[in-house]
Amino acid sequence: MTAGYSTMLDTLTRLRGIRGAMVVSIEDGLVVAESLMAGLKGSALAALSATLASRVSEMAGAAGFGVPRFLHLQSSEGALLVASANSELLLVAVAGRDVPLGLLRLEMLRMSERLT
């Protein structure tokens, strides 16, 4: 199972400018599988991504929007992308600055469907 996740993550991290990708457990915010460049703190990123996804999900629920499928946080130095795979797992990717995010987003949505 984890080997399957690793192959999936390697596919993402081969895209230009992608600094890392992870499969994260929503329930506890722990890393299930990761492929990260040196310097990225996987455990912190996983915990914060899961917390963020939970809060956004609560907010979207309260607003009557349903379950969010994709989160995109853009900062001056890069972007954090989170795709909700199912009720248990998140697919998280970290992209550097000036990276075309369309392909990454498409791949993440495709992969999150495979995780379902």
Binding site: S25, D28, G29, L30, S43, A47, T51, S54
Partner: protein, 154 residues
């Protein structure tokens, strides 16, 4: 928040605030309380410290029996509350942390902030003043009462 040793307050305060822990307790492996946050009564505090150190001791022994390294973290996730129990090494010896947090809070987040607190405690710990002496019953009671006064201001 109260502590036997004041230098613990900074790192513990940051941890409690960042992790939104309801209760936090730092103790030695023998169950002596070093610092606490959120406990109202001394009885609850002392019982929790004794139970926490007992759980770490028994789970560590269980790991040894299996030929493993001692379990670093013991976690219980309830429907409303979760308990996080972990040991860590400081210049003052091995300590144990017991943290109670809401079930909404992610374990990963608590772990991240906990690791940071341990780093800060290790950095903040003053040089050890070694005082090896025989432990007498009278000293034990006096030290226990002094600890309770520090932790509850009584």
């Amino acid at each position: 928040m109260k502590a036997i040793e004041p230098w613990v307050l900074g790192p513990l305060g940051t941890f409690v605030s960042e992790s939104q822990a309801r209760l936090a307790l730092l103790m030695t492996t023998s169950g002596q309380v070093v610092a606490q946050h959120g406990f109202a009564g001394s009885l609850d505090l002392m019982a929790s410290a004794a139970l926490g150190s007992g759980i770490i001791a028994s789970s560590s022994e269980l790991a040894v029996q299996m030929g493993w390294d001692p379990f670093r973290v013991v976690m219980h996730h309830g429907s409303r509350r979760a308990h996080f129990l972990s040991w860590f090494d400081t210049p003052r010896g091995r300590w144990i942390a017991l943290v109670v947090f809401s079930a909404d809070t992610k374990l990963g987040l608590v772990q991240v902030f906990f690791d940071r607190m341990v780093e800060e405690l290790v950095a903040a710990a003053p040089a050890v003043a070694v005082q090896k002496k025989e432990v007498l019953a009278a000293d034990f009671e006096r030290e226990l009462n002094a600890s309770l006064r520090s932790l509850f201001g009584r």
